[in-house]
């Protein structure tokens, strides 16, 4: 992929990924074919900050877990009163990292 496209992608989407993965993403994009650019650009990445807000207001019902794609954990959270409230609070601290992790997995899927 062209250097300018890679730089453009990193500049606009860096907030969606863990900072230590940025060099790896840079390399992955450089090695990828130009035809993948549209796929990568149209990938649906979850904004970690939005996920935190969803987790604060809807975490008790498991909505945050449903949104990041962890359907099973979402159901578990919904049925257990948000893990008797403990899991709800723990997820306020975990959900941003999980959203970035899922974004990276989605990026890998788009590239390979």
């Amino acid at each position: 992929m062209e250097q300018s496209k890679v730089d453009m992608f990193i500049a606009t989407n860096a907030k969606f990924f863990e900072s230590h993965l940025i060099p790896q993403i840079h390399d992955m994009l450089q090695k990828a074919d130009d035809s993948k650019y549209l796929m990568v650009q149209s990938s649906n990445f979850k904004d970690p900050t939005t996920m935190l807000i969803v987790s604060i207001f809807g975490g008790h019902l498991g909505i945050d877990r449903f949104m990041v794609g962890d359907t099973g954990l979402g159901v578990a959270k919904l049925l257990t009163c948000g893990g008797i409230g403990i899991w709800t609070i723990v997820d306020w601290f975990l959900i941003m990292g999980r959203a970035r992790e899922v974004n990276f997995i989605n990026l890998q899927r788009a590239l390979y």
Binding site: H60, G72, V75, L79, T80, C81, G82, I86
Partner: protein, 139 residues
């Protein structure tokens, strides 16, 4: 899908917490704390409205006393939770002892089933209906 090690740790920890919570409630059971109930529910404390799973602890208390009709009336989710907190840790221990991934595969296949549109719609309807019933009962 979460990693196997993380999922197993989470399920065992959650189920253990659930068992301890249920045991504590069974041993400290009084008509007063059952009537007030749901003290740990953040949703109920903040909004004043019971959440879809409010009453599950009381349902498990009824199950422990073999009062199945009362348990069903209090919250049917209690049956799922009672089965889950007993069955899942045993299943995971079997997997770990035999070095198998049966629970992990089960989790993956259940997730795939739940993601089907009609299954999801059915489950959402059931949870919403149970929630409305909960609000009617406890509000």
């Amino acid at each position: 899908m979460p990693q196997k090690k993380w999922l197993y740790t989470l399920v065992i920890f959650s189920c253990l917490t659930g068992v301890l919570w249920a045991c504590w409630n069974v041993t400290h059971y009084t008509p007063i704390n059952v009537a007030s109930g749901a003290d740990v529910c953040l949703f109920r404390r903040v909004t004043g409205i019971p959440c879809p799973s409010c009453g599950s602890t009381r349902a498990i208390l009824h199950i422990s006393r073999l009062e199945f009709r009362e348990a069903l009336y209090t919250n049917p989710i209690g049956f799922l939770l009672a089965a889950g907190i007993i069955l899942f840790p045993l299943w995971i221990l079997y997997d770990l002892a035999k070095s198998k991934n049966t629970f992990y595969h089960f989790y993956g296949s259940m997730e795939a089933v739940i993601r089907k549109r009609w299954v999801a719609a059915l489950l959402i309807f059931l949870v919403a209906a149970n929630w409305l019933w909960n609000i009617y009962k406890f509000a």
